[in-house]
Amino acid sequence: MEGVNWIGVATLYRREVRRFLSVGAQTVGGPAVGTLLFLVVFGVALGRHAPTPGGVPYLVFIIPGLVMMAIAQNAFANTSSSLLIAKVQGNIVDLLLAPLGPGELLAGLVLGGVTRGLLVGALTALAAWLVVPLPLVIPALALFYAVGGALVFSLLGVLGGLWAQKMDQQAAVTNFVIAPLTLLSGTFYAVNTLSEPFRSIAYFDPVFYIVDGFRHGVTGMSEAPPLVGVLVVLVANALLGALCHRLLASGWRLRQ
């Protein structure tokens, strides 16, 4: 067989999407509601005392952060759980026996993760929009960061799914790496308000640039130079994509 197995890639993508849609309440509805609860809690708790970072109302400020958090966590969860569950159940052989190259496998898996991340993010944004109108200042920029951020975390999910051999390991990555990264990267606060050394440390966190860039697209307010954020997203995706491709080609933790 020569060339790209397009039917195989499309099938794998559809399989990934059907997999999470078949338990939509758990994979889409639940995360969207959970994210909105953050909005309610912060809105009610802070009320009139809420800060206005960069002159932006606090709820308008945190909604892009929450949406990006939902995108990131769900993109990661989809690819990592898909791979790990298939490994644990043994049906990973369906993928390994098929004539799919590492790039084709990666494309099908990652696009599935991106789709789930964007779907949960869109639902969250739509629900939040009903309560707090969002300006959506630069739609193209917001879309770039939404897709780019989903891609970054979808690729991270592939790494996590390849590495983990049991549920406990995947949960450890989710709880100790992904959750802190998405919660502590300027989702709820302006990094410029942090004291040193936390402010400087935040500028070394690539997820900060993803959250900040998305917020820039939605509200027009940003803390980091826009070009740096775009470069961070592009470089992170290129590096993660190359690493995932290499690991899949080598059969790391898949083929003995």
Binding site: N5, A10, R14, Q89, D94, Q256
Partner: protein, 319 residues
Amino acid sequence: MPPAMTKHDQPMAVEVAGLEKFYPGTGGRGGNHALKGVSLTIPRGSIFGLLGPNGAGKSTLINILAGLVRKSGGTARVWGIDVDEQPRAARAAIGVVPQELTLDPYFPAHDALELQAGLFGIPKAARRTDELLQVLGLADKATAPARSLSGGMRRRLMVGKALVHNPPVLVLDEPTAGVDVLLRQQLWDYVRLLNRNGTTVLLTTHYLQEAEALCDRIAILADGQIVAKDTASVMLRGLESQELLIDVAAPLASVPEGLRGFGPDLTKPYRLVFRYAQDSDSVSRILEAIRSADLHITGITTRQPDLEEVFLKLVRGKP
């Protein structure tokens, strides 16, 4: 698609030469040399049995052919395609039914077959999902959740998944383990049908009598090495596994001097058991020696070995 068979040099369905697999050790434990220079050819159109005890390397060999395990050395070709040089084409030429029942619970039988065909790049119009469901007796369970299928149905669905791309080589790894007699018979009937239609079948099984009845050729793998390979009947004929049981009138305290050259066992005071090769003149020489030893014969019984005995003898290195 696999390459067409040439008329001039009838290539093999499967060819492995000097195949090596070494699993590195972990956590201070030593590694495992699972395959030690295995060479094997499987003719096209045959049903080939690969037998061996647990841990002999059967699944490792099969998984190398399927691309699930990376070999440490040697060469492997499926339908003339090198598994290293053209891994995707090699995978397209082989269908594998793994030993474990590994079904995705999210998808019912019809969808599972459709998805597997899609992963193999089969266009919708060329898929034969309904045909497979029908022939495997799963048509009435096409939309039932995978979890609701019985063990036998799951096994049949696994066979269907291995056949979605109509592979010229079908590998069945212990396909009837834990399957009831009726279903086992149905599966073997279907395997015979596939074989009659041109599919080469490679199977591993612990049901040695079935391998004897079903397989054209058999190879026995023990400790990572091929210890025998031939047709089942030749394998049985060529071994000194035929038994001649002689009952004598007077009890014996030991094997008489004149018979010791044949190495018989005195299993009872009245019974001597001789072993000999089927295609030799041993029986007449044994009987002549018994007469020379002045033993009065009261009974003669011969016993044919079955494949299980041959298997155990080869694997353990003793009768």
